[in-house]
């Protein structure tokens, strides 16, 4: 009886689909990551899920020095989503490396650091600093945050600026792969993806939040003190999916799908549309173990559909004849 169980278990393990994906030479045990700004520095979630169950953690955007962020109110819930205007509040790269990174190194999950900056040099300074820190798998250049007065999104307004900041950042972090997180608040995301590829980016994350707004009709005031905010959550998923697909048509470097992914099926849609990996964002807020569930769900899907390697799914979309 026991032997039979062991044999079956062995068969099952042999049959287990291969879930690992590779982005710029870095191997992720599965294609599920958490999106920057929605998962803190990772350790906040350690009691609520198994951090080892996911491929990677993209930590909250970091600058060299701490940033205090925007005055509240900073968030507001909308239909199937939320608006935020946090304004890059973070503890600073030095504090991250001394207080958070050692804890994260205890996990076998890859750590990607999102970096922010008001000026070109801000990005370069933090990129150079993190380049030498062990335990970081890649950097994600955040040029798409809509919630700061300068910097951020301003490098994502025309492809030339995107090229410039990407090329400079790539020089500053020679040891680490550089991902660039792109804004959906543009006419044609393909141009920006191409600019990143041409400038030497190793991957693009598509998309950051869409600029939105909400009004309190009693006070006749904006719901956010910053006036506008970034819309995230399931509401933006169809837009994110379309933009991921477009980016995949435009560039050869890996595209990482982000935007409204809350369930396994959402992640599958992005992979089929061409994303090499996905990031779970707002769902972490209302289901802290969402990313773990999706990682498991993908494995189940592969098993039940006789897919040996998750990479078979990537870009497998059939258009109508």
């Amino acid at each position: 009886m026991q032997l039979k169980y062991i044999m079956n278990r062995k068969k099952e393990l042999l049959k287990a689909p291969r879930m690992a994906v590779e982005i710029a030479g870095v191997r992720f045990k599965n294609p599920v990551l958490t999106a920057s700004g929605t998962f803190g520095y990772g350790l906040e979630f350690a009691n609520l899920m198994d951090l080892n169950s996911i491929g990677g953690i993209v930590v909250k955007g970091l600058s060299m020095k701490p940033i205090k962020g925007n005055p509240p109110p900073r968030i507001y819930e909308t239909a199937s989503g939320m608006l935020n205007a946090i304004g890059w509040q973070n503890i600073g790269a030095t504090e991250f490396v001394t207080a958070k990174l050692p804890g994260l190194r205890n996990y076998e999950t890859k750590v990607i650091v999102n970096i922010v900056g008001f000026e070109l040099n801000d990005y370069l300074e933090v990129a150079r600093f993190l380049n030498d820190c062990p335990g970081i798998a890649a950097l994600e250049l955040n040029i798409s945050c809509p919630n700061v007065e300068k910097g951020g999104f301003h490098f994502n307004k025309n492809p030339k600026d995107t090229y410039k900041v990407t090329a400079a950042a790539k020089k500053a972090c020679r040891k680490l792969p550089l991902w660039v997180k792109l804004s959906p608040n543009v006419t044609d995301i393909r141009e920006f993806a191409r600019a990143c590829e041409d400038a030497g980016a190793d991957a693009v994350s598509v998309i950051n939040t869409l600029v939105g707004m909400a009004v309190d009709v009693e006070k006749r005031q904006p719901r956010l003190r910053f006036l506008t905010g970034g819309l995230s959550g399931p509401a933006i998923k169809p837009i994110a999916l379309r933009m991921v697909w477009e980016a995949c048509q435009a560039v050869k470097i890996p595209v990482i799908g982000v935007g409204g992914i809350a369930r396994t099926e959402d992640a599958l849609e992005f992979l089929i549309a061409g994303a090499r990996a996905v990031q779970v964002g707002t769902a972490n807020f209302y289901r802290p173990d969402a990313s773990q569930r999706i990682a498991l769900g993908l494995q189940e899907y592969c098993r039940s559909h006789n897919i040996e390697d998750i990479n078979e799914l990537v870009g497998s979309l059939h258009a109508y004849e």
């Binding site: 205090k68 005055p71 900073r74 989503g81």
Partner: protein, 279 residues
């Protein structure tokens, strides 16, 4: 802090859009300290709107009749929007996601009784929620709690009988004069503090921003420590989203923001920048 699916035991209508929600959450009830809160999903399905959970401080722990062990949580919910409306319309037996206990609650320690004789508990409307467990804790330390409870009308002064049963001195105010003294809750508080200027009194407040600000000013004047329990829109309650911050006045440096979910929800009122309301 635990994330559990818990069963709704009852939803009691208290009038004026206030409800007392009882959850069968024994495991989490054992962990709770006064002033801490839980994040509740307002619908059964996780992927349904509203997506974000809502924070509620615990009013009381219900206990097994015989053993006295914690059996569940009682939370005071005011129906103020889409989320809370769905929550109070849930039926006994339904299951919701419940995350907590979370946050830093009221600090009542044994050594406090050497310094503090009396505590003023000041509530505006549903701000009464965290004060019942606090009152019990204070009494256990032989610190005498006095309640100041204000609302728009008599029907807003919900659950006051709980405090009366503890044998506490109570002061009620209503704006329409339908119960207790007419006017703001800070008026009887100001008289009370004025009469006992030399006494060692601690102040605790929870309610609308303006009320807490006024209580803070009265406490400052009397050189009394005042702890306030703040409300904020929260995304995650885990310290990750940074959505629920309150502005902190730093006399030595630059102003900064602290998270109501992690560093709060209870703060020393002197820390708060009262000019910047978070909600």
């Amino acid at each position: 802090m635990l994330d559990r699916k818990v069963k709704i035991k009852s939803v009691r209508d208290l009038g004026s859009n206030n409800y007392l929600l009882t959850l069968n959450a024994a495991e989490q009830a054992r962990l709770i300290r006064p002033g801490q809160f839980f994040m509740l999903k307002c619908v059964e399905e996780v992927d349904e709107n509203p997506l974000l959970r809502r924070p509620f401080t615990v009013f009381n722990i219900c206990r097994h009749a015989r053993s006295g062990r914690p059996a569940g949580l009682e939370l005071l919910i005011k129906d103020v929007g889409t989320g809370t409306r769905k929550l109070v319309r849930m039926k006994p037996g339904q299951i919701i996601h419940c995350l907590g206990p979370q946050g830093n609650g009221f600090k009542v320690s044994a050594e406090m009784k050497n310094r503090v004789e009396m505590a003023c508990l000041v509530a505006g409307g549903v701000g009464i929620a965290p004060l019942y467990m606090l009152a019990q804790d204070l009494m256990r330390q032989n610190i005498k709690p006095v309640l100041f409870y204000g609302g728009a009308g008599a029907s807003d002064l919900v659950l006051r009988e709980y405090f009366e049963k503890l044998g506490m001195d109570t002061n009620y105010t209503t704006m329409d004069g339908s119960f207790g003294e007419r006017g703001l809750v800070t008026e009887p508080l100001a008289r009370f503090l004025h009469k006992r200027a030399h006494r060692n009194i601690r102040v605790y407040a929870c309610g609308p921003w303006g009320m807490m600000q006024a209580v803070h000013k009265l406490s400052e004047r009397g050189k009394l420590q005042c702890d306030v329990s703040l409300e904020a829109r929260m995304g995650c309650s885990l310290g990750a989203c940074l959505g629920c911050v309150v502005r902190i006045k730093d006399p030595h440096g630059e102003d900064r923001y602290l998270r109501v979910c992690q560093e709060g929800p209870v703060f020393d009122s002197r820390l708060i920048d009262w000019e910047t309301e978070p909600v």
